[in-house]
């Protein structure tokens, strides 16, 4: 079958390039993590020393814990809000184009600058909190940025703000693919509102959900710019995320080896979640 051959031939570059540019380089990083590389890569083998250092570093441990907290908010909220917005937009609203654009626009703004806007908004003294106090709620405080335990959630706020529109777009694309006459059938069957959503619409948004997760999960792990501009990891190091740690070590502090080790640990963590999932799924497919 020549079509099939063409199709598979298209995949070969993907596989080769992917093998080299992603996994080849990942191996290189793995090798780096076993060396005493500082400012620049070196070939001096030090075994698992960098890992030992990494795992003992309280900053790294905190970063992982922060990732968990950040990730929970950053994945769940955009999914909920994005879906809600997509559904809202799907109600044949007038001005859909404008609304869609407004909701989506945060994606376009580079975080490097938007971070400043968010810092202002979340400023405990002069920001929105002050405005609320100005409206008469004198005791109102919103000082997550200043609180060790809450700074991560300040990151969540800005990150959710930025990505939600995109998740909305993903869901919207999915929603728009659902057969209208099937929805009509469901309406005739008496399904409206929440039940229509849960029983008929959501089950068909599976692929969109997968895509949204495909954006959100890696983005959570990759979040870096935002930390730099919004909190610089602070106060103290209370809002550091692994990517921030990784880049700071690898590039700012000239601890390439340590940075590489942290990258490898991240990869292994992702793998340890994704691999069982993939194996289970492949089993199920074979069974089906």
């Amino acid at each position: 079958m020549s079509e099939r051959r063409t199709a598979l031939a298209c995949l070969i570059p993907l596989l080769l390039v992917g093998a080299v540019f992603f996994y080849g380089f990942l191996l290189w990083t793995g090798w780096l993590s076993l060396t005493r590389s500082n400012l620049l890569p070196s070939t001096e083998f030090v075994g698992l020393k960098q890992y030992e250092r990494l795992l003992l570093d309280p900053r790294w441990q905190a970063a992982l814990w922060n990732l968990l907290r950040f990730g929970a908010g950053f994945v769940v909220l955009p999914l909920l809000l994005g879906l809600a917005l997509a559904l809202l937009l799907d109600q044949k609203l007038r001005g859909e184009g404008v609304l869609r654009w407004v909701w989506l626009h945060p994606m376009a703004l580079s975080m490097v600058v938007t971070g400043s806007a968010w810092r202002w908004l979340m400023d405990p003294e002069q920001g929105l909190a002050e405005a609320v106090r100005g409206w008469g709620w004198a005791s109102f405080r919103w000082d997550w940025l200043a609180q060790e335990d809450m700074a991560v959630y300040a990151l969540v706020v800005a990150a959710v703000w930025q990505i939600t529109g995109f998740v909305m777009a993903l869901f919207l694309a999915g929603l728009r693919g659902i057969d209208e006459s099937m929805l009509q059938a469901a309406r005739l069957d008496g399904a409206t509102g929440w039940r229509l959503l849960r029983r008929v619409i959501l089950p068909q948004l599976g692929p969109s959900l997968a895509s949204a997760l495909l954006v959100l999960l890696p983005a959570a792990i990759k979040t870096f710019d935002l930390v730099v501009v919004l909190t610089e990891g602070g106060p103290g190091q209370s809002s550091e995320l692994p990517a921030f740690y990784m880049f700071q070590m690898a590039f700012e502090r000239s601890r390439l080896g340590l940075g590489a080790a942290s990258a490898m640990v991240l990869v292994m963590m992702v793998l340890s979640i994704a691999l069982p999932y993939a194996v289970v799924r492949s089993r199920r497919k074979v069974a089906a």
């Binding site: 298209c10 990942l26 580079s110 600058v113």
Partner: protein
């Protein structure tokens, strides 16, 4: 009544989401010192100085950024569509593993690949150029294929079969049948890609042509945090908005393609 509350809700969401944008706009009309004094106040003497300066600083970079972003985005989106199509609609051994490897590749920031890539390019003797930069962006966008794969799951196979019987080979199948019917997801990927590539600059500095710096490099320059220099917020805000303008335009244009019922009427059942 119900419609009204829907509109209220939508408006509220829009207002909340637009808040930072409004704040940025507001501050971009202020003087440097005024901005330093309070961010939430309305500009006392609104002026376009910051915008003028921003335009001066950035205007030179628009061209190069477009020359980079447009081909890189289109190429990577098309390639992603192609690969996603193959991954979704053709069975082959080990497809699950390819999928898994792609997913995994998505999880690392591409900055991780910067150094090995630099070494490799040096070994290969590839000089810095726009083409190289585009190629690199395209390569690191390969995992986007997964979006298309997910989307194609719902694509009616009967259409493919009909087209095959009509004599369409692989390419025409893709170009004439599959792509036109995947506009929404294509747009989504386009948005993601344009944003990513437009806003990326480190790779641009390393692999891009010597003297041409992408717009975001110029922008980042304006807004870098330093220990010793004070920041000019109005300029930053104006520049950020200016730099985002093409992306915003892309969103506006692309948005039209979120059409409903693209496959309506295709199959019965």
């Amino acid at each position: 009544m119900k419609r009204l509350s829907l509109y209220l809700l939508a408006g509220l969401a829009a207002a909340v989401i637009a808040l930072p944008l409004l704040l940025m706009l507001m501050n971009s009309f202020k003087g440097v010192a005024e901005a330093q004094q309070g961010f939430l106040s309305l500009p006392r003497e609104p002026g376009l100085a910051a915008w003028r300066l921003a335009w001066q600083t950035l205007s030179g970079s628009f061209g190069i950024s477009l020359m980079l972003a447009v081909p890189a985005v289109l190429l990577s989106a098309l390639l992603a569509a192609l690969n996603g199509f193959v991954l979704c609609k053709f069975r082959f051994r080990g497809e699950r593993w390819v999928g898994l490897l792609l997913v995994l590749a998505f999880f690392l920031p591409i900055k991780v690949y910067l150094l090995p890539l630099a070494i490799t390019m040096a070994r290969l003797g590839l000089d810095r150029s726009l083409a190289l930069l585009i190629a690199i962006h395209v390569i690191y966008s390969l995992p986007l294929a997964l979006f298309f794969r997910n989307h194609f799951l719902a694509f009616p196979d009967e259409l493919l079969q009909a087209a095959r019987l009509d004599g369409a080979g692989f390419w025409r199948l893709l170009w004439r049948v599959v792509l036109p019917l995947s506009r929404p997801i294509f747009v989504v990927v386009l948005i993601l890609q344009f944003t990513t590539i437009w806003n990326e600059y480190l790779f641009g500095l390393v692999f891009g042509p010597e003297d041409a710096r992408p717009i975001t490099a110029a922008l980042a320059q304006l807004s870098a945090q330093t220990e010793t220099g004070a920041r000019a917020y109005p300029l930053e805000m104006a520049a950020a908005l200016l730099a985002a303008a093409p992306t915003l335009v892309v969103y506006l244009l692309a948005g039209r393609h979120f059409t409903r019922g693209l496959v309506a009427g295709a199959v019965k059942g």
